[in-house]
Amino acid sequence: MSKPSRLSRPFFILLLLLLLYGLWIFSRPAEEPSQPLVRSRLLMGTVVEITAFGSPPDALERAVTAAFAEMARIEELMSPHRTGSDVARLAEAETEPVAVASETAEVITLGLTVAARSGGAFDLCLGRLKDLWGIETDHPRVPTPEEIQAALEGTGQKKLQVIDNTIVKHDPRSAVDLGGIAKGFALERAARVMEEAGIRHAAVNAGGDIRLIGDKLGGPWRIGVQHPRDSGKILARLALQDVAVVTSGDYERFFMRDGHRYHHLFDPATGYPADRCQSVTVVAPRADLADALATAAFVLGPKKGLDFLKSYPEVEGMIVDAAGQLTATPGLKGRTQ
């Protein structure tokens, strides 16, 4: 018969602690206690992902589906490539008034306001210039100075006028392009649809342009900001809720020619891609405003751009200049992790 074990009290306590630790490891949940619903769609030429918390699940699913449908509806109105869209009809028009949806009129009104406040750095009439460069096509090219000069005819905020839900082009050469603002507006509409459905914690992410509804169940959303020259790194991490975050950078859509980077953010004053910044990130109460301001600040450059962002009381931003130097508005520094 074997001798019985002589376990002392401290030894027994040690064993008990080890057992409890093992049990804790086994029993702790592998995921967060409340799992979000995550759905994605390809819309507006990018991936739109909605992350939403709430219950019951079927109501949450319905709200997210409705938000996607709203974004698709906005795309139908504002895409220049959809036959019969408001923007396509504006392209075909000479100087006669064009009746548009109230949403299109709202976007153009906001765009013209940003255009005026930025001294023309933001421009809604760059359609011909964008077509000329073809940055987002499979045959981009560097146009001649003469071609660029010709494409700049018809640009400028004074070439467009909004009268209720009617748009008037004062120059038939003006080619309306809402690329710098429509995606932000669609994000804003998607957020509105979900809020009306009672969702209090969600995020809509359209290819890196983000609209947040509330926080992430008890804590702010952690938003990484892409480093403009190292896709594997983030520039900063922001703790945010109930705002929109939009980044405009020269690294998303571009081509290289003779060692020079040609990207999709054009300076309306020159007709060439703006070259004073690598990226601009804007945090604003609305996604359409953030979208337009990010483009405008990118064109204005680090100093004027930052001053421009500061002129909006509820807006914060950070700018990486052409040399890679980061500057930010004072209010954003407190939200950087």
Binding site: K3, S5, R6, L7, S8, P10, F11, L14, L15, L18, L19, Y21, G22, I25, F26, A30, E31, E32, V38, R39, S40, R41, L42, G45, T46, V47, E49, T51, F68, D138, A203, N205, G207, G208, D209, I210, K216, W221, R222, I223, G224, V225, Q226, I234, R237, V245, V246, T247, G249, E252, T281
Partner: protein
């Protein structure tokens, strides 16, 4: 002194039990920390899931879209598009994805490839603004 005293009052069986429990606890910690960050690849087309596969199993698959077949390769716990009929090949240029929430999209071919199922708290951020 206390440890020596403790050891003096234990049998071989006591020590064996302690060793087994300690080894179990340590291995559990390593098991938890060493799990792959993403666990499966989900492919959607027009909002519908058309393919799922674990990231841990190497394979190459053809995914049909309106432009033709896109080739998805899963290798060494990572997924990437190796061939696509789309004009700009942006999806191929997006490289490899492995972490939960990572996406590769081919907009022209209506395909969305996502890594899902990893541990959320391992992520450095919730969303990326770019």
């Amino acid at each position: 002194m206390m440890i020596r005293d403790l050891l003096g009052r234990t049998t071989i069986l006591d020590r064996a039990i302690v060793l087994v429990l300690a080894a179990a606890a340590v291995s559990l910690v390593f098991f938890q920390a060493g799990r792959p960050p993403g666990e499966k690849v989900i492919v959607e087309r027009d909002g519908r899931v058309v393919f799922t596969a674990p990231l841990a199993v190497d394979r190459t698959v053809r995914l049909d879209g309106p432009l033709g077949p896109t080739t998805l390769k899963i290798h060494d716990g990572k997924a990437c598009v190796t061939d696509s009929p789309c004009p700009l090949k942006i999806c191929m240029g997006m490289g490899e994805v492995a972490r939960s929430g990572d996406l590769v999209a081919c907009v022209p071919n209506h395909l969305l490839i996502r890594v899902s199922g990893g541990r959320e708290k391992d992520k450095e951020y919730d969303l990326l603004s770019r």
